[in-house]
Amino acid sequence: MAENAKLMQGNEACTMGAIAAGLQFFAGYPITPSTEIAEMCSEELPKFGGKFIQMEDEIGSIAACIGASLTGKKAMTATSGPGFSLMQESIGYASLCEIPVVIVNVQRMGPSTGMPTSPAQGDIMQARWGTHGDHQIIALAPGNVKECFELTFKAFAYAEAYRVPVIVLADEVISHMREKVILPDPSSYKIPMRAMPTSPAGYKPYGADPDGGVPLMAPFGQGYRWHCTGLFHDESGAPSGKAAVADKLLRRLERKIEKNAQVLEDYYAESMEDCDIAVVSFGSSAMAALSAVRRARKEGHKAGMLRLKTIWPFPDAALRRLSASAKKIIVPEMNLGQLALEVERAIHGKAEVIKLGKVTGELFHPDEIYQALKEAF
């Protein structure tokens, strides 16, 4: 498939992954380092009848995406820290109302305007808990340009399958880096589609198995005449303040993701089987980590590498399984230890967790992680 080999940027791969998955609607507001996605969408979407709009802010962008998704279209927005903060309320709306939508957050140094063009990975916990109230979230972290394509494609598959907002948690380096990528043949794509009802008769917009079932989603404008509200609602979509209704709804939403955690887990593991020390990382930090781990192995140290592609739901089971032999786990990340907190929680004292946080706005150098490995051995 020589003609499918291309030199491309992470943001470009992300856009192509979205288009491959059937992207039909993009709304966004420019912000570095995500802007190339909006630019490319504005150029590509009209070519096949898709819709682009530059909204007045990020609040409007996510809102417009949710509106578009309700008409049956696949919708995406892309942003970075400050814009991601603005989107939080409506991410909660999409979560409670079960509207598929993909949000690309290309992380940059924060808080606040921070260092706009410097890479960071400080939005791990914001992605998980940014909106108020209990909710589940899916967040995927690409570790190279090809994965920007693959994980954005997957993000749509999950959004459609589970009717949830899905976050692609990239970072400035992954998104601006250029690599040669061999894309799969378009005819091999299995275009993700949400499950839709076949007739309005007896349609219950939120009728589903209480144990994490996903209700059928009727597109607006096709005679179903249903009510979508961010108030707690019963199976018919009617707002309800009843304790039992609230409990049932929130628990179903929780189970929807929880019970599929195994399906959702995705990672790259190398030399983990017999490792004494594991390095657990993600995104651009994992590139440096992998090179450090390989160097340590070459020198005869039993180091292992686990790079998480699915950050949320956190792959507890996979982490425990893969790091069974590890006595120590080093977690390099471009923040002050957000992922490490989760690793600590999941590993539950079975190994010592060493935080290796970096907040200089610079990438890790493999030597820094190699050094940490040496110290740990």
């Binding site: 288009i19 491959a20 059937g22 039909q24 609607f25 709304a27 009209p46 070519k47 096949f48 009848g49 898709g50 819709k51 709009i53 909204m55 007045e56 802010d57 609040i59 409007g60 962008s61 809102a63 417009a64 995406c65 949710i66 509106g67 578009a68 998704s69 309700l70 008409t71 049956g72 279209k73 696949k74 919708a75 309320e89 409506s90 709306y93 378009p186 005819s187 794509y189 275009i191 993700p192 589609m193 597109p219 607006f220 404008g221 096709q222 005679g223 179903y224 005449r225 249903w226 009510h227 979508c228 509200t229 961010g230 108030l231 018919s236 009617a238 707002p239």
Partner: protein
């Protein structure tokens, strides 16, 4: 007219509004206008934000979208842009539309996107129990304006007009026939259309300002207004402090979705060999 209640989700009634609230009157006017035009129920999407006014859509038998506070027009923009064949109607309050949602309002107007917006303006935050809003007149009371409102109010219609709306009108919950008629015209306009309905919140605005019950408040609203046609013949002193009602503005401006479609057609002529692959969705058509 089809049975009035046929436009309602009867199982969702009774509504939450207080006795004497004007929001029901405005909702009734909208339904009568929809009925008069014979619009297809299945092709209407009603969008609202948060507030007593925004609760209206939940009682109506269309596809309805009750969103977040202030964002109704942004959600509605997504619905309309994604599927321009749908008739998109926004029901919003003075707080929802002109405070927290003010930015979306001016930009929806600027784009002249084909959405009909009904602003149920009771000059107060009703749902949160009576704080002053951007349309509370200067000097009047609210629970956060205990000494009289320090701020100056918006003229919502002037705001809409200046921002680019192609149809702007105002009526009140007292002038129901006029209101219905203006909503009907707004629904027929292809572009961003605004009907401001001055309406009463007896529970908070009326009581706090000691105006009286719903009837006294309705009269108070009526007395604030002058018909736009009659105004031409009146001396300036009779118009001081009055709000004009009737059709206030019409303009021919390109509509957003139509412009986007034109651009798309031009792009597709250039790229007619574009191989986008299978989008996997017949809903792609519009």
């Amino acid at each position: 007219m089809a049975e009035f209640l046929d436009y309602f989700r009867k199982e969702r009634l009774p509504h939450i509004w207080c006795p004497g609230c004007g929001h029901g009157t405005v909702t009734g006017a909208l339904i009568r206008a929809v009925d008069k035009l014979g619009l297809d129920k299945n092709k209407i999407v009603m969008v609202s934000g948060i507030g007593c006014s925004s609760r209206a859509v939940g009682y109506l038998d269309f596809d309805t979208l009750h969103t977040t506070h202030g964002r109704a027009l942004a959600f509605a923009t997504g619905v309309k842009h994604a599927k321009p064949s749908l008739k998109v109607i926004v029901m919003t309050g003075d707080g929802d539309c002109t405070a927290i949602g003010g930015n979306h309002f001016i930009h929806a107007a600027r784009r002249n996107i084909d959405i009909t917006t009904i602003i149920m303006n009771n000059s107060i935050y009703g749902m949160t129990s009576g704080q002053y809003s951007p349309t509370t007149p200067h000097g009047m009371l609210g629970t956060t304006a205990p000494y009289g409102n320090v701020e100056q109010e918006f003229d919502v219609c002037e705001l809409a007009k200046a921002s680019g709306a192609s149809y702007v009108a105002r009526a009140t919950s007292f002038h129901v026939t006029l209101l219905t008629d203006l909503i009907e015209k707004a629904l027929m306009n292809k572009g961003f259309s605004v009907v401001e309905a001055l309406t009463q919140c007896p529970t908070y605005f009326g009581r706090k300002n000691k105006i009286g019950g719903p009837v006294e408040l309705l009269n108070w609203i009526k007395d604030r207004t002058v018909n736009a046609k009659a105004a031409a013949a009146l001396p300036p002193e009779k118009l001081a402090g009055k709000l004009l009602i009737g059709e206030l503005h019409r303009a021919e401006r390109p509509e957003y979705c139509a412009s986007y479609a034109e651009t798309t057609a031009r792009v597709q002529r250039t790229y007619n060999d574009y191989k986008g692959g299978n989008r996997g969705c017949e809903l792609n058509s519009d």
